[in-house]
Amino acid sequence: MNSLFKERRQKHFLMLLKYWRLVFNDHFVIALFFLFGALAYGYAQWLPSIPAHNVWIELLLVIFMTVIAQLGRLATLVKTADPIFLLPETSRMKTYFRQSYGYSLFLGAIISLVGLVVALPLASVTSRTSSWTIALLVIVTLFVKSGWLNLSYLQLSMSQSQNPYWRWLKWIGPVLVWGITWLLSPVAGLCLSLLWLIITSWLVRSNSAINWRVAVTAERNRMSTVYRFFNLFTDVPNLQGRVKRRSYLNFIVNWLGQQSVWRFLYGRGLIRNTEISDLVFRLTLVMAAILIFIPITWLNSIIMALALYLIAAQLIPLYDQFANNAFSYVYPTTKDEQYYDFQIVFRKVMVIVAIWLAICSIGIHLRIVQVLINVIIAVIEVPLLTTNYLKYRIAKIEK
């Protein structure tokens, strides 16, 4: 039983490695680097304009660090068949879960510390941060994450898995700790975070029996998030989004396609399957927000061009959404019809996205010139994306 987690962790690592290699192989990642560069540049430009001891900035820090604490979930690597095959071993699974906790803490701590590094420049603008304070902040970050993972573990326990209270505490705890830390003093924050760690550890110790059913579901959900992330860059097999009726969007469904089989399917597949529509929707919102807040003309235009490309790249896998349905082959239609219908749906969505982004680029200073430049970019780029680029990507999918 001692080696089981190690074996699984190794297999898990290999799987992640395989996907990471694909991630860095994709030109999509280059676009993302540009985007992060632009964001970092904007952040650096913004910093000098912030006044010292600003309460709003301190509140922003509290919110930011609380959200960061939610990233990096408990990775138990439990499998669906475990409740059946490991049932006789349940009492000996403690070691397994302790190891999984250690592994999750390691990864979670890295994410939290990266978040802290991002937040530090902002913190040093509002209040004086000595290296002594930074050391305190690092410890608070680790304690908060550690306690947060304790609660995640508690949510899988037999006696506590039905208790909705823990889900709230996973937000309330970090909010309190970081609130005290940023608004009052880091030393007080440290004391509170230590208390938070001790209490959550004690709770875990007194509720250690695992609820297999909940643990399996939680791990499956976590893995599907991981797969969804990788799916941004490459095709992850068997990844199925959830289906929502969304009858309030029926007018879009009807607008996208009623006439032919494939337009009928693509319209519904896009709107009702959360997989691609949520991604495109979120990307559009984030990009629009960036366009609103970046006042440098050339940077704004580059981001407009990148945004259109990124959104188009995420929309194209819709073409293949019905590939594992036998009726896609049984129906008397041709590949050309399918391509043509997809192109219509794709173009319609891209035009809406482009119009929305161009409107948003007017920004807070109402720059009409920026809008005009971005409209010109869209008028050139959208036809390229919906013909040449689409053809190139579909050829890759069909191969």
Binding site: Q240, V243, R245, Q259, S260, V261, F264, L265, R268, G269, R272, N273, F322, N325, A326, F327, Y329, V330, Y331, P332, T333, T334
Partner: protein, 245 residues
């Protein structure tokens, strides 16, 4: 004229699973495709619906070859898969609409036929349900409704009885009988041999990708030198011969 499969060699990868498979389905007859697990029944059907490309041989339906003239070929077939295959994003109503669009059916007449079928299978009050809300048997019924609401020349039915309640099995057999009367050919693969014995006009026996027998039950009995043997007996004796000792 009907479905003619001639010297079909095929399979999933480079290695052929089917070897020189030849048989035909005539209008107005129900042909049973019988064989052990792994004999090649589903592979044959996957070739017939165009999911797999033949390595050699031909599949022709009323003069339309699946490889040279796929659209005209596919316009004449309806298919009920072994395990229900539905679009997760479409309601039952929309599955019927997609079928109408795919086969360019007359919407009004097709809906009339569909309504009748939906009533038969007790699905008429579930038109706005998504596949996720259906049980396995209901999904299978949706597949049957979508196939039988069309007016095709050939129906390809893969193991249709799994997960159906006895009432639905009877309803399906009645439907098959109706389509036969109207002159459609039906190819059905199944393990439910007593039903097959009662309803099929002819049988095609597959064994390790070879057609080992073609013909009626009478002919099969004659070949086995046992005039009273049931299809089950003949099938079992064949299975024994194939058992790896």
């Amino acid at each position: 004229m009907a479905l003619e499969v001639t010297n079909l060699v095929g399979g999933y990868s480079q290695i052929p699973v089917l070897h020189q498979v030849t048989f035909d389905v005539q209008p107005g007859e129900l042909v049973g495709l019988i064989g052990l697990n792994g004999a090649g029944k589903s592979t044959t059907i996957n070739h017939l619906i165009g999911l797999l490309q033949p390595f050699a041989g031909s599949i022709v339906l009323n003069g339309h070859n699946i490889q040279t003239d796929p659209v005209s070929y596919k316009e004449q077939i309806a298919y009920v898969p072994e395990a229900p295959v539905l679009y997760d994003e479409l309601t039952l109503r929309e599955h019927i609409e997609v079928t109408i669009k795919a086969y360019h059916l007359n919407s009004e007449q097709a809906w009339q036929r569909a309504q009748k079928l939906l009533k038969t299978f007790r699905l008429d009050n579930k038109l706005d349900w998504f596949p996720a809300d259906f049980s396995k048997g209901m999904k299978q019924k949706v597949m049957i409704v979508c196939a039988f609401m069309t007016d095709e020349k050939l129906y390809i039915i893969d193991e249709p009885f799994y997960g159906l309640d006895p009432l639905a099995v009877q309803d399906l057999l009645n439907l098959i009988e109706q389509k036969k009367q109207q002159g459609a050919g039906i190819l059905m693969s199944t393990h439910v041999l007593d039903t097959a014995e009662k309803y099929c006009d002819r049988f095609v026996l597959l064994n390790s990708g070879h057609v080992t027998f073609k013909g009626s039950l009478q002919a099969m009995r004659a070949a086995n030198n046992d005039q009273s043997a049931s299809l089950n007996d003949i099938y079992l004796s064949m299975a024994k011969g194939d058992r790896h000792e």
